[in-house]
């Protein structure tokens, strides 16, 4: 492990990579701050830029964007009560009331320190957990992987669906269907191409991400421009107040941060859970733990109430790298985008990654530390200036997002069919978003589609076409039983709610 850490340090500490982390954190903060634009959009917009770099540098840039976007999201939560990302919704519960009391600077500083501590602590957990989990996952076989992918897809559908599990499952199926377009990987037989040569290689992953996130976000923002429910209520962006945290507040944070980082990291590791659930759980747990007097302050500007979700959502970001780096199965929509980008670089994440490409594996972990330090340096003194970006007019913002999306696709293929296809998918995605059909399950399914088919093929061929492989191994059976429990529970919940109504 020491050798790996040294490899990671030597890769991450090159001038180019430090610059990439800085750029990533900076742009991530700006994009994540804009309401409606989350880390997935931020990373998707960065993909074309990474083409010119080696995989380690590209991934370091994307990781920087990820942390930056999560932190940026909390800024808009605190100042506008309009969370840039779902993972920072819980931040607004106490951050926004604090800002309304004229302590916006303090709220932002608490968020910055909590994010820093949460991210740094969880990077330490990741350092120790990832290699051991990689060793364990070497014993995984095709049926286990197949079952794990089903569990991951079901879990992300369950957690991201806001109570609309069936909608999320439909998006999972749609993602898998989109992934099945093009040549079959083994026989080279074309499927669902309708004799269109442009579809022979399948639909590009970047195209789907750009269309369902960047472009459809932009279209949704224009569409809902006059919607009174989405209008932001502004706190003064010019007078944020002091960013100093006093001793009493610091003492509260010392207790909150360690426990919230553990819960955030563990939730982040679970497939599909991610920063949103981590932040809500940490908030809920903190509320149950604190004294009755402190409990009263929750929702009215509590330091613990702000620090807990901020620590947890950053810790969950690092946690979500664990399944991606060790199993090759992304734990969240954002890491699914990063997995797709890695595959684009020709790197196959999984248990062997840290043996075959140690420089990538370790440099990502090392760059997390650098990223956290840079985020803190960047955010604390620059908070008053960065906050003004929230005032960027949408008239400029939307065309620029569309421009980055279309350019991203154009430089990949130099083909206008892909631009039309992206616009088509974006229009459908925008319409589906209006009716709360979640997009992260679609992306995760699209990324996993090929791997899932491959593992099912291997499992079925090894068992001579029999489905016995599902219960031959205890591990496979356990994973599938968990999946079935999630499905049955959510369908039952849907029916029970109505009966109650």
């Amino acid at each position: 492990m020491i050798e790996g850490i040294l490899v990671g340090l030597s890769t991450a500490f090159t001038l180019q990579n430090i610059l990439m982390v800085m750029l990533g954190c900076f742009f991530g903060t700006i994009i994540g701050m804009l309401p409606g634009l989350g880390p997935m959009t931020a990373i998707a917009l960065m993909i074309p830029i990474t083409y010119g770099f080696d995989p380690a540098t590209g991934l370091i840039l994307m990781a920087g964007v990820y942390y930056g976007a999560v932190f940026g999201g909390s800024t808009s939560s605190i100042l506008l009560n309009a969370p840039g990302v779902p993972g920072t919704v819980a931040t607004s519960f106490d951050g926004y009331p604090m800002a309304q009391q004229g302590k916006a600077g303090k709220a932002l500083a608490i968020a910055a320190w909590s994010s820093f501590a949460g991210g740094t602590l969880s990077a330490i957990y990741l350092l120790f957990m990832a290699p051991s989990l990689s060793k364990v996952s070497l014993s995984f076989r095709s049926p286990d992987y197949f079952a794990l992918m089903i569990l991951g897809l079901t879990a992300i559908a369950a957690f991201s669906s806001k109570g609309q599990f069936l909608k999320a499952m439909m998006m999972v199926v749609l993602g898998l269907m989109l992934a099945s377009v093009g040549q079959d990987s083994l026989s080279d037989i074309t499927r669902f191409t309708f004799n269109n040569m442009n579809l022979t290689d399948g639909i590009s992953f970047v195209l789907v991400v750009m269309a369902t996130f960047a472009m459809s976000e932009a279209l949704t923002i224009i569409l809902k421009r006059n919607d009174p429910t989405s209008a932001a209520k502004q706190v003064s962006l010019t007078e944020l107040g002091s960013i100093k945290i006093n001793k009493e507040e610091r003492n509260k944070m010392y207790k909150t941060i360690p426990r919230s980082s553990v819960i955030g990291f563990l939730i982040g590791v679970l497939p599909g859970a991610g920063a949103t659930i981590a932040s809500f759980l940490a908030y809920g747990m903190e509320r149950n733990i604190v004294s009755d007097e402190e409990k009263e302050k929750f929702g009215k500007g509590s330091v613990n109430g702000l620090s807990a979700p901020e620590t947890a959502n950053n810790a969950a970001c690092s946690g979500s790298f664990v399944p991606m780096l060790t199993l090759g199965i992304p734990g969240s929509g954002t890491t699914a985008v990063m997995l797709g980008a890695l595959l684009g670089f020709g790197v196959q994440p999984g248990p062997r990654l840290y043996m075959t490409n140690p420089e990538i594996f370790w440099s990502i972990i090392m760059s997390m530390y650098i990223g956290m330090v840079i985020l803190l340096i960047l955010n604390l003194p620059l908070i008053p200036y960065i906050a003004r970006i929230l005032a960027v007019p949408k008239n400029y913002l939307i065309p620029l997002i569309l421009f980055f999306s279309i350019t991203g696709i154009y430089v990949m293929s130099f083909n206008n069919f892909d631009i039309y296809l992206m616009i088509g998918i974006a229009v459908v995605a925008t319409f589906l978003r209006l009716y709360d059909f979640p997009m992260p399950p679609l992306i995760l399914a699209f990324v996993l589609g090929g791997l899932m088919e491959e593992n099912l093929r291997r499992s079925l061929l090894l068992s001579n076409g029999s489905w016995e492989f599902l219960w031959d191994r205890t591990l496979t059976t356990c994973i599938l039983l968990t999946t079935i429990l999630i499905v049955v529970w959510h369908i039952y919940k849907t029916m029970f709610k109505k009966t109650k109504g």
Partner: protein
């Protein structure tokens, strides 16, 4: 059973799954692969049935969280115009070239979204695209074909 837009979308997805499943059964596989435990059509067939299952359930089961979209407040016209501009951009980018089409796309988008600060609109279109193009072409070595710039002798 209430008919709402979500159910209509689910019904459309059901019909789409029927079409997908039908197309999956039509996938031509090699003769020796026809009876293999797994061939090119196996996975798509399962997906087709999964689509039928989930969308069917969504249509049949009660919907406790009915989504009501306020269509009157939505900006359909501006969104549609922007989509049309993007389509025109896609149609002309290969023939005219990256620089001019992208700059015009940005300029016209700012205009249709209601912007009238001409200097800022200009700065955030033509010079901005030139700088971005330099970053892609000059720094990152990503080739961008541009017949317009070639015709005026700016690009080799």
């Amino acid at each position: 059973m209430n008919i709402n837009t979500t159910k209509v979308i689910s019904l459309l997805f059901f019909i789409f799954s029927v079409f997908y499943l039908y197309t999956a059964y039509q996938i031509q596989v090699f003769a020796f692969d026809e009876n293999a435990p797994f061939n090119a059509r196996t996975f798509p067939i399962y997906l087709g049935y999964a689509g039928l299952f989930f969308s069917g359930l969504k249509v049949i089961l009660p919907d406790p969280n009915t989504i009501k979209v306020q269509h009157k407040t939505l900006e359909y016209k501006k969104t549609a115009i922007l989509i049309v501009i993007a389509i025109i951009y896609g149609a002309t980018i290969l023939k005219v070239g990256y620089f001019l089409t992208t700059s015009l796309f940005l300029f016209s988008s700012y205009f249709y979204l209601g912007e009238r600060r001409w200097t800022l609109m200009f700065l955030l279109s033509f010079p901005f695209v030139a700088a971005f193009m330099y970053l892609l072409h000059g720094v990152l070595d990503i080739y961008l074909r541009d017949p317009f710039l070639q015709s005026i002798g700016v690009m080799g």
